[in-house]
């Protein structure tokens, strides 16, 4: 009888224990569900995209992603160079740009990312000159490449085309710049900054190529000549980026060598800066500071011809 009672107690204890264990499991499940529920819905999409991006062979840099991203953020947007060309009074010339129908030539993610940067620069240039029909063609080419690179979700092509048709220049430039920035941020977040580096390199080479073409037809424009010369600072940054990828990938290594050959010519350019204290004034609630430093760019005609020649060779290699 006593034995039976002990058995019953043990059974009850096991049942209680089983119930408590189940309770624990339920609690854990509730906690997990709450935690998953708190995650941003974008994360799931990002995970799916990350899976698809893993199929793209992109090398990893030999320094931290934070360091790479910091350098990437230093590179000026191609539209700054385009704005300088427009300010110089030079007219629009679509013959300077890459053919928007050539997107199908670019089959690897390496080529696609480089030419995405090139088409992005062409789009910015066309937008600035309000060449809306050309802009629409470049939007089409970009759409094809971003679909191949599986980043189409960052571009609202319907809105971009509508803005181009309406000639809403400010909104168009703003939206396309934002979209390209988001793509860059996304690549950086996903440890795919190699693709950002390629986009930046392509965009910069295209802007430099356009500047060279504009200068060739405006040889008296010393401001434009000096602008081409001071691109040495940007090229130094691009080489710094590429250097961190060249060891892990042969395509990056070749690209680095090409850009290095351009740097060898740029080493003939001397940039002389004289420092001066800034002065301040308040204008309509905004603090305006004028930097009283100055820069003198020393670049001769022979150097600029060599820059034009090497830049054209590199760019031809990218777009063909």
């Amino acid at each position: 009888m006593k034995l039976l009672k002990i058995e019953t107690i043990n059974l009850e204890m096991r049942q209680e224990h089983f119930n408590c264990e189940n309770m624990d499991k339920y609690l854990l499940l509730i906690f997990l569900m709450m935690w998953i529920g708190c995650q941003s819905p974008r994360k799931n999409t990002e995970l799916a995209l990350l899976d698809s991006l893993e199929n793209l062979e992109i090398p990893q840099p030999n320094i931290s992603d934070e360091q790479i991203n910091a350098i990437i953020n230093q590179i000026p947007a191609p539209i700054e160079l385009s704005a300088m060309m427009k300010k110089s009074g030079a007219g629009y010339n679509k013959n300077y740009l890459n053919d928007p129908d050539k997107y199908s030539y670019y089959n690897t993610s390496f080529e696609q990312a480089l030419n995405l940067g090139i088409y992005g620069a062409d789009l910015g240039y066309s937008n600035l000159y309000e060449e809306n029909q050309q802009s629409i063609l470049y939007v089409g080419a970009i759409k094809e490449l971003v679909d191949e690179l599986r980043i189409g979700q960052f571009f609202n092509f319907e809105t971009i085309e509508r803005l181009a048709e309406k000639r809403d220049l400010d909104s168009l430039i703003l939206l396309t710049t934002q979209d390209f920035n988001e793509v860059n941020e996304y690549f950086q977040e996903q440890q795919r900054s190699g693709l950002s580096v390629l986009m930046i390199t392509g965009g910069w080479i295209e802007s430099l190529f356009i500047a060279n073409q504009v200068y060739e037809n405006n040889l008296e424009n010393t401001e434009l000549k000096e602008t081409i010369g001071e691109q040495k600072i940007v090229l130094e940054k691009i080489l710094e980026l590429l250097a961190h990828f060249r060891e892990s990938n042969e395509d990056f290594n070749r690209l680095y060598s090409e850009m290095e050959s351009l740097m060898n010519i740029y080493n003939e350019v001397v940039i002389e800066t004289t420092r001066g204290d800034p002065s301040y004034e308040e204008v309509e609630g905004v603090l305006v500071a004028s930097d009283n430093s100055t820069t003198i760019i020393h670049i001769n005609d022979e150097t600029i011809e060599k820059i034009q020649s090497v830049c054209t060779r590199i760019r031809d290699g990218f777009i063909s």
Partner: protein, 153 residues
């Protein structure tokens, strides 16, 4: 024995439940304290002064005061005006000081002058080179903001 065992199991369950509730509470606190500056960044884009072209957004997250400064760098070009604004949940500068330094770390522009914080600054760049855009905190409540860079030739 029966009651003791039940009480023991119940206490064990309550202890685990309390720990879980505490973890959930902490997680909630963490989410609450996170700097979600996308709204401020978007707001800043819409506030760019007419005539300037947007180039970049800079999120500012001082990690509730754990970070002394947030810094970005950018190659600025001479004969260009750069516009830099600041947007916070407080709709004022919230003690955030923007300082632009040249490549030799000389300060060349700020949004803080004569004891006043400005929500935007314009920097007339006359020397091409790397510039450091630094955000520091002086009595900030949120340590969280958005900022955008735009230019005009």
């Amino acid at each position: 024995m029966d009651l003791l065992a039940k009480e023991y199991m119940m206490n064990k369950f309550l202890l685990k439940f309390s720990i879980l509730v505490f973890i959930i509470f902490l997680t909630g606190m963490h989410v609450y304290a996170q700097c979600e500056n996308n709204t401020q960044t978007r707001e800043c884009i819409s506030k760019i002064q007419n005539g300037f072209i947007y180039v970049k957004s800079f999120p500012i997250d001082g990690k509730n005061g754990l970070k002394e400064k947030v810094e970005y760098s950018y190659v600025m070009t001479r004969d260009t005006q750069y516009y830099l604004n600041l947007c916070t949940p407080e709709n004022d500068a919230d003690g955030i000081i923007i300082t632009i330094y040249d490549s030799e770390r000389n300060p060349v522009s700020t949004n803080y002058a004569d004891g006043r914080f400005f929500l935007a600054l314009i920097f007339q760049c006359n020397a091409t080179g790397i510039y450091y855009i630094s955000y520091t905190f002086d009595g900030s409540k949120n340590y969280c903001a958005g900022s955008t860079l735009a230019f005009k030739k």
